[in-house]
C-alpha cells in the first residue's frame, strides 16, 4: 500500500511520519511516535481511552485516520507537562485516587484538560458532562470528580503561561 508522508505537530514538536492511509491516529501515536500513553480500550468510540486533543478539542483517535489530520496540533497525555513534572490535572488525579488500574486515566486527563481550558470554574454537572465520553471500570467515578475538583484548585494557583499550553511546557524543558 502506498504510504502518505504526514506532518504532525505532536506535543509541541513537529514530526514527519510515513503512514499507510488505513492507519489510525491512535496507532501512529503509539507505534510510530512511541507515545503509548493513549490507550486502545473499546476500539469503537465508546470508552474515551484513546482521547487526544486535536487543535485543542478532545477527540477519539481510534476513529481518526491519521491521514485526515495532516498539519494538526495534537496533544497526548505525554504533552501535558514536561518530563518529571506534573500538570495540575495530573496532580489532582494522583492525590485524590482518580486512577486505580490507570488504563482509562490518560483519556480522563485529556478530557479534564480540555474542560479546564474552556471553563475554569465548572460545576459538578459540567464536570460529569465533560467526562461523559470516558468510561472507568475501577474508581466508580467519585474519586475522579474529586480529582477534577482538586485539579481546579491547583490550576487556579499555577501561573497560566507555565501549564496552559503544551508548547510552553516543551519550551521549558
Amino acid at each position: 500500500m502506498e504510504k502518505i508522508l504526514l506532518k504532525l505537530c505532536v506535543n509541541g514538536e513537529t514530526c514527519q511520519v510515513a503512514v499507510p492511509p488505513n492507519k489510525l491516529l491512535l496507532d501512529v501515536l503509539r507505534e510510530d511516535l512511541g507515545l503509548t500513553g493513549s490507550k486502545r480500550g473499546c476500539d469503537d468510540s465508546s470508552c474515551g481511552c484513546c482521547a487526544v486533543l486535536i487543535d485543542g478539542t478532545p477527540m477519539l483517535s481510534c476513529v481518526a485516520l491519521a491521514a485526515s489530520y495532516a498539519g494538526a496540533e495534537i496533544t497526548t497525555v505525554e504533552g501535558l507537562a514536561p518530563p518529571g513534572e506534573l500538570h495540575p490535572v495530573q496532580e489532582g488525579f494522583a492525590v485524590s485516587g482518580g486512577a486505580q488500574c490507570g488504563y482509562c486515566t490518560p483519556g480522563f486527563l485529556i478530557a479534564t484538560k480540555a474542560l479546564l481550558d474552556r471553563n475554569p470554574q465548572p460545576t459538578l454537572e459540567e464536570i460529569r458532562e465533560a467526562l461523559s465520553s470516558n468510561l472507568c471500570r475501577c474508581t466508580g467515578y467519585m474519586q475522579i470528580y474529586e480529582s477534577v475538583r482538586l485539579a481546579l484548585e491547583r490550576w487556579q494557583q499555577v501561573p497560566r503561561t507555565a501549564a496552559a499550553s503544551p508548547t510552553a511546557a516543551q519550551g521549558s524543558q
Binding site: 500500500m1 492511509p21 476500539d43 477527540m59 485516520l65 491521514a67 485526515s68 465520553s133
Partner: protein, 328 residues
C-alpha cells in the same frame, strides 16, 4: 481495516469526480465516527475513501432569506453552540442526546443523516436485511429487542439511527444533494427510504452523490417544538425511542402540527394521524396522551420489543407537553 486509496479533494467538483457510481467501491468520509467503525468491521471495504474535510463550502451555518443553511460538515457541537438554533429546541435536544462530547466534536450533521443503521445483524455482516444463507429473515426469530415496531412488515427491521432526522423533518427541513449532473433538492422526509432488496440503501442518495446542505425554514413566532428521547443510560447510549414535534400555537389552539418518531422504524416515522388529531384544539395533557396513543396505534412489536410501544407513546405525550411550554 482493508487497504484503500485516500483522497482529500479541495472542491466539491473534484470530490464528485472521485466517487464511484456503484455502492461499496468508494466511501465518503466526514467526521469518521461511523465510517471507521464500519471499515474496522469490514462492513465497508472501499477501495477509495474520499475525505470531505478540506471542502470549505460544506462548512458553517448561514442565514438566508428563507431560514438557515447548515453545511453538511457542521459538527454536532457547532450546532449546539450556535445561538441561531436556540429557536429549535427539537434539534438542539437531539444534538445533546448524542451523549458523548467527543463524538459531538467529531460527528457532522451530514454524517448523522447518512450514518448506517446500528442493527447488530447488519454490523456483523448479515446484510441490511439480515438474512441467513437460505434467505430467511433473522430478526423476527432473533434478538430484536432494539428493532423496529413500526414500518416493520419486512424485509427491513432495523431502525433509522439518525437522531437529527426526526426533528429536522418535523421542522420541515430540506436537503441539497450534489451529483455528477448538478444538484437536486428534496424534503428531508423523502431522503429516508425503506429498502426492499439487499444492496439498496436506507437513504435516497446515489453512490456518487454528496449531501451538501440542510435548509431549515425560518421559525414563525408561533412555532413551538421539542424532542423527547428515552434511553437506558445517561451517557454513551442510543435512544430506544424518541419523538420530535413542531406545531404552531395560535390563541391557545394548535395548527400545523407535525409529529415524527425516531428509533422505532427503518425511517424517521411520521405520525400523521396523531398530528391531525391536534388541529384546532387546545393542547391539554389529555389530548397529548391521545396523540401518543394514536401515534403507536399501528405498531406491530416483534417478539422482544413490545416495551418500545409504551416508550414511543410516552415520548410523544411528553414532547407535546414540552413544546406547549415552549421548551425541549
Amino acid at each position: 481495516m482493508q487497504a484503500f486509496e485516500y483522497a482529500e479533494p479541495k472542491t466539491l467538483k473534484e470530490a464528485l469526480g472521485l466517487l464511484s457510481s456503484r455502492w461499496g467501491e468508494t466511501e465518503i468520509l466526514a467526521g469518521g465516527t461511523d465510517l471507521l467503525s464500519l471499515m474496522k468491521n469490514y462492513v465497508a471495504t472501499p477501495r477509495r475513501v474520499v475525505n470531505l474535510k478540506s471542502i470549505a463550502e460544506l462548512r458553517g451555518v448561514a442565514e438566508t432569506s428563507e431560514g438557515l443553511r447548515i453545511g453538511a460538515l457542521t459538527t454536532v457541537q457547532e450546532l449546539l453552540e450556535d445561538r441561531r438554533l436556540a429557536r429549535f429546541p427539537a434539534l438542539t435536544a437531539a444534538a445533546q442526546g448524542i451523549t458523548s462530547p467527543q463524538i459531538r466534536n467529531m460527528g457532522t450533521i451530514g454524517g448523522d443523516l447518512c450514518q448506517r443503521p446500528r442493527c447488530w445483524y447488519f454490523r456483523n455482516g448479515f446484510g441490511l436485511l439480515a438474512r441467513d444463507a437460505q434467505g430467511r429473515a433473522l430478526v423476527p426469530e432473533g434478538d430484536n429487542r432494539y428493532h423496529a415496531i413500526l414500518g416493520n412488515d419486512g424485509p427491513a427491521y432495523f431502525v433509522s439511527a439518525s437522531s437529527f432526522g426526526p426533528p429536522l423533518i418535523a421542522l420541515g427541513a430540506r436537503v441539497r444533494i450534489a451529483g455528477p449532473n448538478g444538484t437536486r433538492e428534496m424534503p428531508l422526509s423523502e431522503f429516508f427510504v425503506i429498502p426492499k432488496n439487499e444492496g439498496e440503501r436506507e437513504i435516497a442518495l446515489h453512490p456518487n452523490e454528496i449531501l451538501t446542505d440542510v435548509f431549515l425554514p425560518a421559525a414563525a413566532s408561533e412555532l413551538r417544538n421539542a424532542t423527547y428521547e428515552v434511553r437506558q443510560r445517561e451517557f454513551l447510549d442510543w435512544p430506544l425511542a424518541t419523538a420530535s414535534v413542531a406545531l404552531e400555537l395560535r390563541e391557545g389552539t394548535v395548527r400545523r402540527a407535525s409529529i415524527v418518531l425516531g428509533h422505532v422504524a427503518p425511517i424517521p416515522w411520521q405520525a400523521g394521524a396523531a398530528a391531525a388529531l391536534l388541529d384546532g384544539k387546545a393542547l391539554t395533557e389529555d389530548l397529548a396522551d391521545q396523540a401518543g396513543e394514536q401515534a403507536v396505534a399501528a405498531a406491530k412489536p416483534l417478539s422482544k420489543n413490545r416495551y418500545k410501544v409504551q416508550l414511543a407513546r410516552v415520548a410523544v405525550k411528553r414532547a407535546l407537553l414540552a413544546a406547549a411550554q415552549g421548551g425541549a
